[in-house]
């Protein structure tokens, strides 16, 4: 069984084979032979040589959370088809970092902005979050108006980057 895990913009290719309680996990040219047991739903006890790895795994809508010895990792299983997917990473992040309410909009379509200018202020959980311009450019579109509810990841403002930068 081949599996691809995505974690913070990296993809990890792993293979795993099972024989009863024994698992053969291969990653990065190394094979790990482990014994494993699910002692409670989501609670794994994995024996790797004389070490015991205890971890807890849960599945959300899209993500898995893995708790290993006090650290938690958010991971997603992904399908890779043909060529590896080329996800374009935004150079400057204009997505809302949080779900909340738009309390102030500083720009309108057509405005010129300088890198670092505040474009929009979002309030959530009693704090203010500032959306700043990631580069010099011109505002193409503002996707929200004041008092709108905004969800995490939604695009706040669209900016055309100045060519000379």
């Amino acid at each position: 069984m081949f599996i691809n895990y995505e974690h913070e913009n990296h993809v990890y290719n792993v293979s795993v084979e099972r024989r009863k309680d024994q698992y053969f996990v291969t990653y990065d040219n190394t094979e790990y032979e482990v014994e494993a047991d699910e002692i409670k739903p989501g609670h794994l006890k994995i024996k790797l040589g004389d070490r015991v790895i205890k971890c807890v795994i849960t599945k959300g809508d899209k993500d898995k959370f893995v708790f290993v010895e006090g650290d938690v990792f958010k991971v997603r299983n992904i399908e890779l088809t043909g060529a590896k997917k080329n996800k374009k990473k935004d150079e400057g992040n204009l997505n809302s970092p949080i779900s909340g309410k738009v309390v102030n909009i500083k720009v309108k379509g057509g405005d010129k902005v300088k890198k670092g200018d505040v474009l929009m202020i979002i309030e959530a959980m009693k704090m203010e979050y500032l959306i700043r311009a990631p580069y010099n450019g011109k505002v193409k579109k503002v996707n929200f108006k004041e008092k709108d509810q905004i969800e995490i990841g939604q695009n706040t403002v669209e900016i055309t980057k100045n060519k000379e930068d």
Partner: protein, 505 residues
């Protein structure tokens, strides 16, 4: 001991861990409890625990936990004879306190007048200055136009602080390092204050170098008896909000403790305080201390005082509000051992401590001697942007600071909260930092040592990958396959590894 009739039924105008804490205290004392809740909290622990529950409707705080007329009506309907506000929400709202008292339901806190006074940071400082409690040099005046404020700021010198008069928890606060950003900072602080508190008055004050935030817990009854329950060191903050508190302070001496304790009592006396309360001081590198503000309510971090003094502060709030005299005497109080609290937040320390939202898929907390977990969460709970992202408080105590840090690291390493990003790993890193272990902490500790900290610089550890693969294999519906035995170097088993999204592998 004097016998006073305690309340029969108390309505708790709050949610989360503090509502749970107060309900338990009431139940132990034989007081009936009424929980209120918004629709988002229908299944919350405070609702499950209480003897009676009333739905306040819409999850928006202003429609539920901040809705004074609605809460007052509910309290009257259920026949409550007292209202406990917890912290946050209406805890320091003098109108709410007055409305309760007007309807003959005792507000568990000081008088509305005292709340009002202490809510105005400028007025509070003036009173303290007059009472002989040291305050930080600054401008606390009525001139609030930007140019006057800029002039006053220049007089104080840089760095200086712009603070919302009505503020708290870092909201409406700006640090200004030079004249050229002073005006912008004043405007921004005013706007945030307006939005958060409906009031845009700000004040300016000298910014203290190597500052520590050290506060004193007090208890004051309605008969003029006041005691302090020693200090709490709350310097470990991010975004001006505390995340780790401990007691005793690593920097405290018996002499300084006595001096600051007396100042705290003086501060409470100066305003005729009753209830549990906290006097916050700023302490500089030379151990000079300055009054900052007084919180007229139970504090988030009250458990560390409870663990080191053995005093139950929530129960004393209830006794004091029912008119009982403090039977605890200053000389009988004993500060013993060391206690630390870590606040477990739904937030991402690798991304500016932005709150994270989602559904909790798993919640399991460690137990053990001297491990206390004050929590209001449960598996299946939705973490929404409506409320504060603090999920729980983990408190531990031990014989000394070193052991206490070790116990906290042990406990955090076994604190399972999955489904949202939390600060648990980050807290462990802070506690494990050499300078923290030495007690060399200031309110800048996080900025100085953890700027641009990433939870997973190293990527996914191999243990996590093994666990994931095993888990997926266990839960896969495909047949077990026979071991692929060949040792062909071109075997697909050799080709697995890590590569960056969008880059060549």
């Amino acid at each position: 001991m004097e016998w006073i009739i305690l309340f029969k039924k108390v309505l708790i105008a709050n949610r989360g861990e503090i509502a749970v804490r107060i309900i338990k205290a009431c139940q132990e004392m034989g007081i009936k409890t009424v929980a209120v809740y918004s629709e988002a909290d229908e299944n919350a622990p405070h609702v499950q625990l209480a003897d009676e529950t009333v739905n306040l409707g819409d999850p928006t705080p202003i429609e539920s936990y901040l809705n004074i007329p609605k809460i007052i009506k509910v309290a009257q309907d259920v026949g409550a004879d007292a209202v406990h506000p917890g912290y946050g929400f209406l805890a320091e709202n003098p109108d709410f306190a007055k409305s309760c008292n007007d309807k003959k339901m005792k507000f568990i806190g000081p008088s509305p007048k005292v709340i009002s006074l202490m809510g105005d940071k400028i007025a509070a400082k003036k009173i303290m200055e007059k009472a002989g409690v040291p305050v930080i040099p600054g401008y606390h005046g009525v001139k609030q136009d930007n140019s006057s404020l800029v002039e006053e700021g220049k007089k104080i010198g840089f760095p200086l602080l712009v603070k919302a008069a009505a503020g708290g928890g870092g909201k409406g606060m700006r640090i200004v390092h030079s004249e050229d950003v002073l005006k912008d900072s004043i405007e921004s602080a005013k706007r945030e204050s307006k939005s958060a508190f409906g009031n845009d008055t700000v004040f300016l004050e000298k910014y203290i170098d190597k500052p520590r935030h050290i506060e004193f817990q007090i208890l004051a009854d309605e008969h003029g008896n006041i005691i302090h329950l020693f200090e709490r060191e709350c310097s470990i903050q991010r975004r001006h909000q505390k995340i780790i508190e401990e007691t005793p302070s690593p920097v405290m001496t018996p002499e300084l403790r006595e001096k600051m304790g007396k100042a705290a009592i003086k501060a409470a006396e100066a305003v005729g305080y009753s209830n549990a309360g906290t006097v916050e001081f700023m302490v500089d590198g030379n151990l000079n201390f300055y009054f900052m503000e007084m919180n007229t309510r139970l504090q988030v971090e009250h458990p560390i005082t409870e663990m080191t003094t053995g005093v139950d502060l929530a129960k004393w709030q209830l006794r004091i509000a029912s008119g009982m005299k403090l039977t605890l005497k200053q000389k009988d109080l004993i500060q013993r051992g060391h206690a630390i609290e870590c606040r477990i937040y739904a937030e991402n320390p690798s991304n500016g401590f932005l709150p994270s939202i989602g559904t909790l898929t798993k919640v399991e907390s460690p137990t053990g001697p001297n491990v206390r977990n004050d929590t209001g969460i449960y598996a299946g709970m939705k973490i929404t942007p409506y409320y504060d992202p603090m999920l729980a408080k983990l408190i531990v105590s031990s014989e000394n600071r070193e052991e206490c840090i070790n116990k906290m690291i042990w406990a955090l390493s076994r604190y399972v909260v999955l489904g949202v990003t939390t600060n648990v790993s980050f807290l462990k890193k802070v506690l494990s930092h050499d300078e923290f272990k030495k007690g060399n902490i200031t309110t800048h500790f996080i900025d100085n040592h953890f700027k641009d900290w990433m939870s997973t610089k190293e990527g996914l550890p191999v243990e996590a990958l093994i666990a994931l693969a095993v888990y997926d294999s266990m839960h896969s519906k495909t047949q077990e396959i026979v071991r692929y035995k060949e040792s062909d170097p071109h075997s697909p088993w050799k080709h697995v590894g890590r590569w960056r999204m969008g880059a060549d592998s």
